[in-house]
Every structure is written in C-alpha cells, then in structure tokens.
Amino acid sequence: MKKLARLLTLVALSAFAQEQQVVQSGTPAVLEAANGKKLQVFLQRMDGSNLTFQPRKSPNDMTVPSSKISSLQFFPKYDAAAVEEAFSVGDYNKVLSVLEPIMEPLEQYMPIANNLQDTFLMLMKSRFAMADFTKVRQSCDLLLANDSDPKLTIQGTVYKALAALAESDVPTAQTLMDGLESEAAKLYLRACIERAQQQPKTAIQTVTGIIAEHGNDVDWLAPSELLSAHLYLDMAMTNSALNTARQVRNIYAGTHISGDADKLYRQLGGEEAATDKQGT
C-alpha cells in the first residue's frame, strides 16, 4: 500500500514538473478551427489577418490565417449581468470601467467570430455615448473586419459614420451610408446626416419612413424612435419630444435605448410632469 502511495506521488510530481516546464503566457481561449476541431490555446497576437497562438502545454507559437478559424471562445471574469444592467440604464461610465480593462487585450481578436461580440458591441456603444470617437472608430474597424455576422458589419459601419458625424465629417458619413446593405440602417444614418445638416424636418420624415416600413426591424426601430424624440426637440416641439422619449423608454424597456430615452425624458422634465399628473 505504501508502495502504491509513493508511486502515485511520483506520478503527480512528474505531472507537476511537466506543467512547471511549460509556463505559458497569452490570452487563454478555446479555438475552433474551420474543420470543427477545438483546441485550448494561449492567444499571442493578431498580425493583419494572421492569428498567432500557443497550444496549451506547448511553448511553440503557431500562426494561422484567421480564415481557417471558425470561432474563439474567451473566458473573461466579470459580472456580465451587472454590466448589462448598467448598459440598459445608460450608465456607460460603469460599463466602460468594467469592460475596458477586460476587453483591452481581447479587442485585437474581434475580427474573428467569438463569444464576446455582443459585449464588444456594448463597449463600442458605450464609448460612443461617452464621445470617445477615436476608440469608436477603432472598434468599428475591428467589427468591419469580422465577416462572420452581417449585423456586426452594419453596426460597425453605422457607428463609424456616427463618429464621423459627431466630428462634422458629413462626406465620410455619407460614403459609409451608401455602402450599407440594410435599408433600415441606411435610412437611420440618412436621418442622422440630415439632422447634422440642420434639416430636422427632412430627418424626421426619414425616421417616420423607418417606423412605417421597417416596423419589425429590432436593430434600428428603437434608435430611430429615440432619434425622433431628439428631432422633435430640435424643432422646439418639446411636448412631442417628451412623449416620444416616454414611449421609447416604455416600449423598449430593458435596453440601452430605453435608458437613453429615460435620460432625455427626465431632462425634459418628464418626471416632474409625471409627478404633477399623479398629484392632480
């Protein structure tokens, strides 16, 4: 029995020694190759469209074209529910404070399909909300390099254009808009451009086109309606802006658009109005 115990200890020590010999650095992930095989890896870097990684327990770098990779799975440790909650109420500072350090080493891999794409979108939108347009553009470029999901391309294009608009670069926004394939996204961007060109009346008519013709487009209906609220405000139709903001807040409850609408609603005195109504 003692012999057996000693033997087991030796085996364990040997395994430990092996582990000790391969000290690996990089971003741990599971890589799924195009042929369906999965591999535990430590990602090293992206060079253009090539991904360099070390397989687990191997000190050797391997470089493969990203087109050979089906997807990556990351394992960041953070309270995802809390971040989503913060995002849905428009607490972008909190989102950024949590996600920036986590996503910083991962961002370079975003051109490859992965399990954090939605999180990355959340990060990009939060950066936009906080007017960090340089980072928004960088994020958009990464999204545009990812051809796994047309939705990402559209979001990347639209937000890149919005960042350009925020810095008064209408021609760039226009060019990006022309390249969009989603009709609803294109109309949304057009309305944003028209708004930037101080044409709120034209813009709101474009928005109503989205509401009427693309009423089931879950990606662009909510932002379009929120844009409508802002356009009413631009036209000094405060009651209309207030009511639109309230409806967007209620209809899209649980989304960041609802959070943004709530902020606008309160900014316009919505809560006071609600309190007054209750009072009467």
């Binding site: 709101i204 008519q205 928005v207 109503t208 086109g209 509401i211 009427a212 009423g215 409508s228 009413y232 139709m237 009651n239 209309s240 009511n243 639109t244 309230r246 409806q247 209620n250 209809i251 899209y252 409850a253 649980g254």
Partner: protein, 1012 residues
C-alpha cells in the same frame, strides 16, 4: 357538457350487454375481463368498453383487494380507451371513480392529468380547475393511500395491498400543460386575476416560443380586463420578442387588446401592440407554410386536396408514428375528419383569417391616431398618409386625409403642404363632406392668420366640388362661399366681395349666413360708394332680420350711406337714433364721431366737441378713441385752442397708454409747440418720436411728423439749426439696424436736402421688396418712378397704400403714378377710375390738378368733346389751380376746339396760352401754343399770320430757346432766322406786348415736372 355518472353508464352498459348476450348466457366477471382484454388487444375498442363497463358493474361492491386492484386497472384502461374515442365526459367520470377510491391507484398523477384534460376538452372549466389544482397538489404532496382491503368478497380479514411501482412525477412539459389548462379555464370563466399566475408559470417554463407568446398575450388580455395597465406595459416588450406574433389568435387578440388600451388612454401600451399586428397576407403566408409543415409531418400531401408526389414522399416521408398512434387519419379514405387536431385547428384559423375583412388600414389608422394623440405628429402624418394612399375613396381613407391635413395645419404649421394635399384631394374627390371639411380647415387657418389672398386660393377647388341638396353639405358650401366673399372684402376687392355675397344670397337662400351675407353685401356696396343700393340693403336687413346681430350696425351704416348721399340731416338723425337707442353698442363711439363730424361741418363746434368726447368716453377699442381725439384736435386747431389739444391728447395717452397712437399724439403735441413758437422743442419732440417709433411701419403719426418737421425747417429754422438737425438724423441713421427706421430717416434727410427723387431712384434698385417702406418712402419711390416714366410698379405701389396706409396723405403720389401709367397704356377707363378716387380723396388740392387735366385729355382722346371742354373749363375756375394747371387747361381747350373743327376758337385759346401763361411751366405750354396757333392759322389759310406767329415765337425770350422753337426756325428758313437773331442782338424786340404772370415757388417745381 353535463358530467356523466359512471354508475349510471355501467348500469346501462350492463343492461345493454345482457340484452345482447341473452339472460341465460350471463358471463362471469372473469369471462368479462378476459373478453374485454381480448377486444382491447384486437383494437375493438367499443366492445372492450362494453365488457369493461359490465365487469366493473359486476365487481363494484367487492372489497377483495385483488378484485379492487383489477377493477382499478380496468378503470384506468377504460378511461384511456374512452379518451381515445373522444368520450371524454365518460372518461372523466371513470377517472373520478378511479381517483376517489384511493386504493390500488397505480397512476394517480396521470389519472389526475387525464381527468383535467377531459374536463378542459368538454369545456367544464370549473371541474377542470378543480382537477388541475388537485393534480398539481397531488404531484407536490402525494397522498398516502389506504393500503388495506379484503382477501375476497367473503373474507373479512384485512390484507395489505401490494405496493405499486412508484409513479414518476409530472414532467416539465406536463406541468406546463396543466398550468396552461388551469390558466385558460380561469380565463374562460372570466376569473382574470386567477388566470395570471398559471399563465406566468407557462411563460416561465414553456420551451415553445409560440406558446409563450400566446400566454403573454392572454396575461395582457386579463390585465386589460382587471384592469392593470402598468403591468401590461411591463409584459409588452416580452411579447414583442416571441414568435407568437405570427399566431393568428394572438394577432386577433392583439387587435382587441390594443383597442381596449387605446380607449383607456394607455397609448404607450397600445402602440406596440398595434405595431406587432402583422399584415393579413403575411400572416396567411406564414400560417400556410405552417400548415404545410404539419401536413408533411402527418404524412399528408403538403397542399390541401393534393396527393403527395413520389419526390415529396421521399423528401418528407409518409405517415409517422404519431398518426399510427392516434389513428386520426384514415389513410385509405383520406377523410377530413381524420386529420390531426392541430391541423384542423390551424386550417379553421386560417379560414377565419381569410374571411376577415382587411384590417391593415384600420390598424394603421389607429396607430396614426395614437401618434397624433401623443403629439408625435410626424409619425401620425406618415400613417394617415399610408391609409389614405391605400384606399383614398373609402370612409377610412377620407378620415385619414382629413386628419392628415388637420395635422399639417394645426399641429405642424405646414400650410403649404396642407394645401397641396388638400387641394389635390378636393380636385380628385369632389363629392361629399370630406372635401368641404378640408376646405373649411384650410380656410379657417388662413382666416386666422389673416392670409386672405390664400383664402382666395381655395376658390377654384371650391368651384370644382359637386353640389348636392344635402343639408349639411349645403351649409358647408354656404359657409365656404361666405368666407370667400369675406376674404375679398378684407383684400379690399369690393367688387368681388359684392359678387361673392350676392352669390351666397342667391345660391344658398335661407342659409345660416343669409343675414350676415346681406349685411356684408351692403357693406361691400358701401365701400364701393354705392350709397343708394347699400342703404336699401341695410334697410332690408333691418326689416327681415330685426333680431339678428347687426341691427345696430345696420342703423349706423344706413347713416353713413345717407351721409354719402349728402343727406346730412337724415344722416344726423340716424346717428342720433343710434346714439339714443344703442348706448352700449360697439358702434356707439363711431356714431358719435360721425355726428360730431356733421356738427363740425355745420360750424357747430361745441356740439362736435361734445360728440367727440362722448365717442372718446365710450370707446371700446383704441381706433374709436383715436379718431375722435384727433378729429377733436382738428376742431381745436381751427379755434386756436392749443391748450385743449394738449389736454385732450394727454388724456387720451393716459387712458390708452401703449395701445394709443403715441406718434400721432406727439405729432399734435409738436404742432402745438410750433404754434407756441417753441420750434426747438417741437423739433426735438419730432426727432425723438421719429427715432423711437419710426421702426413701426404702421405708425402714420411718424410720417405726419416727418412732413411737419420738413415744413418747420423750411419756414422757421436757420441754417445752423437745420444743419444740427441733419447731423442728429444722420447719427440716428448710422446707429440703427432697423430697416424701416433707416428708410424713414433717409427720406427725411432727402426731403430736407430736396433730393427725394434721387433717393427714390436709389431705393427702387436697392429694395428687394417694399415690406419696410413707410408712406413717405413709398411716395419717394413713386416720384422717382414718375420722373423716369417707369410705371411698372405703379399698381403695386397704389395697392400697398390702399391696403396698408389707406389714410396716408402720401398716397396722392401713388395715384398720380398709377393714373399716368394707365394713360400711357391707353387704359382710359382705368385712368378715369384712378382720377375719380384721387379727386374723392384730395378734391381740388393743388397737387392733384393733374387728375382733372388728365381727365379732360382722356375725354378728348375718347372724342367726348363737350365733356372735355367742360372738364378743362372747370380747371380755370379753381383758385388753387391757378398758374401752370390753368396754362395747360387753356392749351387743352385749344386742342378741344381744334378737335371740334373750330380752328379759330382754338387759335384764341392758344394765343391766350402764350400771351398769358408763358411764364408757367418754363414756357412749355406757351411754346406748344405757338406751334398749335401756327397750325390753326395754316388751316384757316392765313399763311402770313402763320409765319408772323413763328417769328413772334423766336422773338419771345420765354420760348425761343425751347426745343419747340426749332420748328419755327425750320419753317422760316435760315436767312430769316439769322435776320431775327441779329435784330435781337441789337436790342430789338417783338412788337407784341404782353403781361407775364410771375410763377410762385410751387410753380417752379411744376415747371420742372412739365419740362421734364
């Protein structure tokens, strides 16, 4: 369905079986059991049921555990067969017995679940609720069953039943279905609050998207009924994210729910529900795909009434286990009743859906309505437009175009677009109420904004509407045409207004606007100075409508007509009647002022003052007091009562404060100071007032001050004071951004510098429009145009005066420009009309002598010799027109006689013109008269006299240098002309001796005009 007692069924079955088998051949319970199982195995379920009932009837009373155990097993099997045979009420009764016995119950959970299903299917919802509740309770807390029984019917010793295999708890799917049945049962018996919790369970646990969506929908429906709108709002986003939106039932329920929410004012909740409703065609297509899938799943041809092709069989397979298990399809006959239940349900739903009238327009309209209600006007607009475009001629289409135009006009202030859409509709759909309502709306907007020209824009479309005898439509038409005439009136198109009101009176007799039309018809005539006719209509109104609104007004206006007809006594009486009868009327102050004017004209100044004071005291509006105060000031001025002027004006300012015509008041105050020799103070008052009030183009008091200021400077100020004043005005000009004030200051400076014409020319090219031009500025432009003989804007300028500055004294310049323009265009009737208006306004004032001269010339041009002669002769009799006008009139009289074939008489007038008036108009008329005289003498064959006339012309220093003298030089020839010139150089003179009138300063200006 009523519940069936299992005991009763068993008795009946036993009886039936006894009859069938014969009394003598009674089988034993064991045989019955064997027989039942045989039938069952052979799938002869009806026979199996009979045997099972017989068996149960036989052993019902037995207490033997073994018998009880077998009987319970048979009960469970019997229930299963009955369910399969759709004899659900019987099955429920059997299961009741099975469960109630509480012994040898091997399937307590499944029995309870089956019982609940049976009650649900037979729509016995109260029993279903009990059954489900019981099943769920049992599942959570299984009852410890009585385990004791008898060995046999005869043996009283208790025995313990053999423990059955423990039954599995309900699966999640079974639990979900039980909750669904419970929820639906509560819902069906209207227990709204109770149904929510089980539905919530379904929503939380079901794995089917569509079921989840349906459950959410039912929760929303229940919450609507409770009502609890806040909770609904929370549920809607969840529903939005499920595929249940493709469920026909959900879509129908969505419509009901949305309508209920909308009616309750819960727009935020109603709107997303409406949005989720899918168009019928889209739903049908989705459901047809679903039916196809179900059919394929059940081995049926993909499309109804079609057989599956070999390829489809290969691709989709044939009847599956489910079909074999349920046996619901007869593969040989393919009868419809054998279809799977879900397929039948689905097909029924799709039939119902197809039978529904199209609902998309209704949904879109309701959404539009909600958007509009919550002030999301642009969204509302879009949806109204969608509905209108989809079905413009329908009732909902009509409502949509109405709402669309209403939104554009009332909410978005987009009248141009409203008109575009409204007029388009009126021209395409000219019948019925809606085009009228739209016209009424557009009309109302323009009236409210005093855009009368745009009101007139409705007229062509109004004329295009199809008329009917419908009382309501007639009322609309009468109103719309009445408002058209009102617009004409406000545009000062009195002829059109007269025609318009007459149209209403003739085409819409006894309409609701008849009395008003008659009143305004008379008013239009009054404005056209058709006093007789207007008077008749006012009197007619008083007779026909003695209780209507305008009775007091009619009395007053009748007085005005009498005044116009120069029946001053009757007019005075009528005004007195109004004053005595209607002391509280709004026209009381006007009546007082009018009577005051009559007293004033009669020299009864105290009486006039008393009436003006009455008017001032009773004035309800500033203009009523303003007129009376300044009329009173005129009277006081005539009596040199300048202190009274100050008192009256200051009192007026105190009462009316900011509403008072302050500029005009200051004008009178300044005028008083001038009379008091306080020139500096007067100038300061005027300059300050011009700068302060000169930015308002309608302050005609400022314009009066400008004229008065120029007069004071010319008469009373020395050059130093004048320069100081000019510097002040120049400084004010440079420091203001107000265009109206700038123009007024520039024109004042030009008048002081006598450069009005130059300024006028400059302004003509400088001003894109005349919006900011006050009367002196307009007059300046008129003068410049006149000098350049540019009549292109004459009509516009006069119209601006008439519309904006009717009482301005500066309007005379516009009349002159217009008259000359019309004469140049040979629009003689138009010119005569303008002349008449100018003369009505300014009578025989010197600077409107042109009007009478032109009138005489036009009459001559028209060959109306006698009238032309009389017109010219009139000029000679007017003292104010002495000088240049008389010179021209004398010359024109010569032309008249020439045209009458009286060259000798003509010569007489020409001779008089160059003898007596050579000093006027720079000798222009004298020179013309010389040439005309020569022409007459030639006609008379007096050639020597003709040549002498030319010679006299060259000897006459007033005309010899004028261009006309060239004609004399040409006729006389170079040598004779040289002889005359040499003679003149030596100091020689003509033998003609004449008296020359010296022209006044005014005439010097006129001379310039004529020569130019």
């Amino acid at each position: 369905m009523k519940r069936v007692s299992s005991g009763l069924i068993i008795s009946l079955m036993v009886l039936t079986a006894s009859v069938c088998l014969g009394a003598d051949d009674d089988p034993t319970p064991a045989e019955m059991l064997t027989e039942a199982l045989k039938h069952m195995q052979a799938e002869r379920f009806e026979d199996a049921v009979i045997m099972m009932y017989m068996y149960l009837g036989e052993v019902e009373e037995s207490k033997a555990p073994r018998v009880i155990t077998i009987a319970q097993d048979i009960r469970f099997k019997l229930a299963t067969i009955l369910i399969r045979s759709k004899r659900l009420d019987e099955a429920a009764a059997v299961l009741d017995d099975y469960i109630d016995l509480q012994m040898a119950c091997d399937h307590p959970r499944q029995a309870r679940r089956m019982r609940a299903t049976c009650y649900f299917e037979i729509e016995d919802y109260d029993s279903c609720i009990s059954a489900v509740t019981n099943a769920l309770e049992y599942n959570a807390n299984p009852i410890v069953q009585a385990r004791r029984g008898s060995k046999s019917d005869d043996d009283d010793d208790d025995v313990i039943f053999k423990d059955p295999e423990p039954e599995a708890e309900f699966t999640p799917e079974e639990l979900t279905m039980l909750h669904m049945m419970l929820a639906e049962s509560y819902f069906t018996i209207l227990k709204w609050a109770e149904c929510i919790e089980p539905f919530e369970y379904v929503i939380a646990h079901t794995t089917e998207e569509q079921r989840k969506g349906y459950a959410i929908m039912q929760v929303i429906n229940a919450l609507i009924e409770i009502p609890d709108f806040d909770r609904i709002t929370a549920w809607i986003p969840q529903l939005y994210r499920t595929t249940a939106r493709y469920d026909i039932r959900v879509n129908l329920a969505l419509m009901n729910a949305a309508a209920a929410l909308s009616e309750a004012g819960e727009y935020d909740s109603a709107l997303p529900l409406y949005r989720m409703i899918l168009p019928r065609d889209e739903l049908v297509a989705y459901q047809e795909r679903k039916i196809r899938d179900i059919r394929i799943a059940h081995g049926l041809p993909p499309d109804m009434d079609e057989e599956m092709t070999a390829d489809e069989m290969l691709l989709f397979g044939v009847a599956d286990e489910r079909e074999a298990e349920t046996g619901e399809m007869n593969a040989q006959t393919g009868l419809l009743e054998e279809k799977p239940k879900e397929l039948i349900e689905q097909e029924n739903l799709i039939i119902a859906l197809k039978e529904l009238p199209p609902y998309e327009n209704d949904v879109n309209y309701r959404m539009a309505d909600i958007y509009k209600t919550v002030e999301r006007y642009w969204e509302g607009l879009r949806f109204f437009d969608i509905v209108y475009t989809a079905d413009p001629a329908s009732e909902i289409g009509e409502r949509s175009i109405y709402e669309l135009v209403d939104t554009l006009i009332e909410a978005l202030n987009e009248p141009d677009e409203a008109e575009r859409r409204g007029f388009d509709y009126m021209s395409k759909y000219p019948t019925g109420m809606t085009p009228r309502q739209i016209a009424y709306m557009i009309n109302g907007y323009h009236h409210k904004h005093e855009q009368m020209a745009r009101v007139k824009g409705i007229k062509p479309y109004l004329d295009g509407l199809v008329r009917t005898n419908d009382a309501t439509i007639l009322k609309y038409d009468a109103e719309l045409y009445f408002m058209q005439a009102v617009a004409d009136l406000m545009l000062l198109n009195y002829e059109a207004a007269e025609t318009g009101f007459k149209f209403v009176l003739d085409d819409f007799p006894e309409s609701h606007q008849e009395a008003n039309s008659l009143y305004w018809y008379a008013m239009a005539k009054l404005f056209l100075q058709k006093f007789d006719s207007a008077y008749s209509d006012f009197e007619s109104y008083l007779k026909r409508f003695p209780d209507e609104t305008y009775v007091d007004e009619c009395h007053y206006q009748s007085g005005v007509c009498l005044f116009g007809m120069e029946k001053y006594d009757e007019a005075q009486e009528r005004f007195a009647y109004v004053i005595d009868t209607f002391p509280d009327s709004s026209i009381y102050p006007e009546a007082c002022s009018m009577r005051g004017d009559i007293y004033g004209s009669q020299g009864l100044l105290d009486e006039a003052i008393a009436d003006y004071e009455r008017a001032i005291a009773a004035a309800q509006k500033p203009p009523q007091a303003t007129y009376a105060v300044f009329q009173m000031a005129e009277v006081y001025e005539a009596e040199d009562k300048y202190d009274d002027i100050i008192r009256a004006v200051e009192s007026y300012l105190d009462v009316w404060q900011a509403q008072a015509d302050i500029a005009k008041a200051l004008f009178w105050i300044g005028k008083t100071k001038i009379q008091q020799q306080k020139f500096d103070e007067a100038v300061t008052t005027y300059v300050d007032a011009i700068v302060k009030y000169g930015g308002d183009v309608r302050q005609d008091g400022v314009d009066l001050m400008i004229a008065e200021l120029v007069r004071v400077v010319a008469v009373y100020l020395d050059s130093e004071a004048e320069n100081e004043l000019k510097t002040k005005l120049q400084t004010a000009l440079e420091t203001t951004d107000d265009l109206t004030l700038q123009l007024r200051l520039r024109v004042t400076l030009a008048m002081l510098n006598r450069t009005e014409t130059e300024l006028g020319k400059q302004l003509l090219s400088e001003l894109p429009d005349l919006e900011n031009a006050s009367p002196p500025v307009l007059a300046c432009i008129c003068d410049a145009s006149f000098e350049m003989e540019d009549y292109s804007r004459a009509e516009e300028l006069l119209r601006i005066f008439i519309i904006k500055f009717e009482d301005s004294d500066y309007m005379r310049a516009a009349y002159k420009l217009r008259g000359y323009g019309q004469y140049a265009d040979q629009d003689y009737e138009g010119a005569l009309q303008t002349i008449e208006e100018a003369q009505e306004n300014y009578g025989t004032e010197r600077d409107v002598a042109w009007a009478q001269l032109m009138k005489a010339q036009i009459l001559l041009d028209q060959g109306r010799i006698a009238e032309a002669r009389e017109a010219n002769m009139n000029i000679l009799n007017i003292p104010a027109w002495r000088g240049s006008p008389v010179a021209q009139a004398t010359f024109q009289l010569g032309l008249v006689e020439e045209a009458a074939g009286e060259p000798l008489k003509a010569f007489g007038f020409y001779q008089r013109a160059y003898f007596q008036y050579k000093g006027h108009s720079g000798g222009y008329w004298a020179a013309e008269a010389y040439l005309a005289s020569a022409r007459c003498l030639e006609k008379l064959g007096l050639n020597n006299d003709r040549r002498n006339t030319y010679r006299a012309m060259l000897f006459d220093p007033y005309v010899s240098d004028l261009p006309q003298a060239e004609e004399a030089r040409r006729v006389l020839g170079a040598s004779e002309v040289a002889e005359i010139e040499a003679y003149i150089e030596t100091g020689g003179a003509t033998n003609i001796t004449i008296d020359v009138e010296v022209p006044s300063a005014e005439e010097a200006t006129e001379t310039k005009e004529v020569v130019s």
